[in-house]
């Protein structure tokens, strides 16, 4: 497509989405759930055909010399498709949040006032590589009564087109508008610029991908963006604490998986427990090949640990999200220094305190300015499924609208509902 055609195409998607969103907003829970179950069935029935479409993407990716992990993320295996189908069925089985009325109260004037949960309208999702995100986003959009416009990565365009077609088939067969889920049909990059600057059609943008992509979108968008840039998460080992528990949790927070944004990247240790705690965690990290970037005090203690890979931490290390077997370690005076350090260096994603002191726990919860704050638990729990949200559209490190893991409610809005019997204002 030419640039002009791309702009017109995305504009048209916007107009159509806006129209479809009004119909989706009033669709009953039964009809939306029917569409989700139909989509699950279509994914299972079309597993072979989808793999053929996917093969085109894979062939092109290999010809273009994409790395093995990148090619892996593109693959629509029968297992990936079955997971997508099950996800749709799980959403269908969940109660509908749309139309729920919160806090209806009678006022002195006689009117009753509450708030009704309604869809936000139209969201745009911009994502890279993994084509299964098409189904995740589409199913969340259907369940939440929104319309959406999806823009996937160019490397997955054939898979995405095939999946979006099945979504639209499920919509139409269930009596819902075909434009409730639309895929941008071109790989032209100008489409993203257009999609994020149509406040008249799109209510919120959700980008998923690398930090560069998300930063660019946030800077240029003319509509709200639900995003998180990075997860520099901290685990603080307080004095007093249960050392055995602290070792277990600090180990899990770093090493259970290195790549997620909720893995701990920095370990703060109160000086009163450093001599006892650090050699124990250091031995585990050393055995797992985790490099430790240390302040002078922690380095002095950890140098006793045989096989430990120790480095001096630079100022930059305290800001770093490694997503790798590396952790920064600092001995602090106590709670005050830990909170100050975290509020200065953290990306405001997730932080945990490991402590036996109730007052310390309360202050940490109140004063640490992050989207998730934890006491005696692994930062790895910061996740929509672990929080019982049922589904996760992303994690937000912003304070406006949604903060932390964002579930279906993040795609909704509350409007005031007033019930009267002819009351007038005096």
């Amino acid at each position: 497509m030419t640039e002009l055609n791309t702009a017109e195409h995305v504009q048209a998607l916007g107009q159509q989405a806006k129209k479809a969103s009004a119909l989706m907003a009033k669709a009953s829970a039964a009809v939306k759930n029917q569409a989700l179950r139909r989509l699950a069935a279509l994914l299972r029935d079309n597993t072979e055909a989808l793999q053929q479409d996917n093969a085109q993407d894979l062939t092109r990716a290999q010809a273009n010399g994409l790395s093995e992990p990148m090619v892996d993320r593109l693959k629509l295996t029968p297992k990936v498709l079955e997971t997508c189908a099950q996800g749709c069925e799980q959403l269908a089985a969940m109660p509908d949040v749309i139309g729920e009325i919160l806090g209806m109260k009678q006022m002195p004037s006689g009117i009753r006032v509450g708030q009704m949960r309604v869809p936000i309208g139209v969201f745009g999702m911009i994502f890279e590589s993994r084509p299964n995100v098409t189904i995740e986003a589409a199913s969340l959009s259907i369940k939440s009564g929104n319309a959406c416009i999806l823009r996937g990565g160019s490397e997955a365009i054939d898979s995405n087109k095939a999946l979006a077609k099945l979504v639209q088939q499920a919509l139409v067969e269930s009596g819902l508008p075909v434009d409730a889920v639309q895929l941008v049909q071109t790989t032209d990059r100008a489409a993203v610029g257009q999609l994020i600057t149509m406040p008249q059609f799109v209510d919120v943008i959700i980008p998923r991908g690398g930090k560069g992509l998300i930063e660019r979108i946030s800077a240029e968008a003319k509509v709200p963006v639900i995003k998180h840039l990075d997860g520099n998460c901290h685990t603080y080992v307080d004095d007093p604490c249960d050392i055995a528990m602290a070792v277990k949790v600090a180990d899990n927070a770093k090493t259970q998986k290195y790549s997620p944004c909720n893995a701990s990247e920095s370990l703060l240790v109160a000086k009163g427990v450093a001599a006892e705690f650090l050699p124990k965690i250091g031995t585990i990290y050393a055995a797992k090949g985790v490099e430790m970037r240390c302040c002078p005090k922690s380095k002095a203690i950890l140098s006793q640990v045989s096989g430990a890979q120790l480095q001096d931490a630079s100022e930059q290390d305290w800001f770093e999200e490694y997503l790798a077997p590396i952790i920064s370690i600092k001995v602090v005076e106590g709670l005050d220094e830990a909170i100050a350090h975290i509020n200065h260096y953290s990306s405001h994603h997730t932080e945990a305190i490991l402590t036996r002191d109730h007052m310390h726990a309360q202050r940490f919860l109140r004063e640490v300015d992050s989207s998730s704050v934890m006491v005696n638990a692994s930062t790895r729990f910061a996740d929509g499924f672990e929080y019982g949200l049922g589904a996760e559209i992303g994690i937000s490190t912003d304070k406006f609208h949604a903060r932390g893991p964002v579930g279906i409610e993040g795609l909704t809005s509350l409007k005031y509902v007033v019930l009267g019997e002819g009351e007038i204002r005096r």
Copy 2:
């Protein structure tokens, strides 16, 4: 100040506000309430001095030829100051929303997950003329544990400076940071441009003023804006309805006061009740001097009413917020046309249906896409105090974050709180 100095001044305010906000976030309810009561006392003790400062603004305004209503709005009479003082005391008497924990639930993993209400951080308020907004904004900011930067109208600069000084005195005497409430000290217009483009220091902007000001701020801001542009509110008289009640409510919605944004600007009438309802409401509007801009059908019926000022409604009339004794009137087929008309022409502020039909009421509530939807009540009720919010920082017609009348909760954010006993992720 030169432009450079203004930019530096506002930057400095931002830095100081950010620092103060961390201290405000952890201040106890008792200390914040003490500051509010101290402020009330200072306003009463300094009524005479404040009137002298105010006199400078008034003299300048008259010399500059400001209109009488504009000069009136500038006045800090003893009554206005007493209202401000009482407002502070009422806020002090309200429970504190900061630190409340919502929905703490135990998950299968063993962790308990809930959400804690915390201040949003720093807000900027931009307002015109009325200096009492300085006290309103300052008191809401203190109560909600935020820091704020206030930018008042240049015509009220002397009054605003005097009021802000008292606020800072109350803060310091209560042990709170002096920079928790700061006033932009220059009338240079460049200050606004700087204030709305400092996402590193300011979390949200709240403009109050004319539509032009708010549109400009929304277009140029680099941070979220809580705003409403206009209130084209509708009252829909359904078939069947209680005609006597409908006449009473439609009268109140238009004529109780013409200037508020929640006054009805458009009246839709189902054709089945038009012949009975329109002459009755028309007689009242005619007696009160309300001009009626009509569709052909309503004009034909209303032409029977003696003394009625009738005009043909233009397409533009259906979009109009008159804020004056003018109302547009249209006869519609029924509920479907009423909902479609409202969703097309409304500014998504407040709409009411007057009906006896339960199904119609439910559909209106669900399908009308406005920040307040009402059954059998006057649109004039769309107001923070009438909704029991205790205080109102503004009304939002956006769907993101806050929608409808915005109380103190609109200046807060929810972070996730996780309590464990050493749980790790498997």
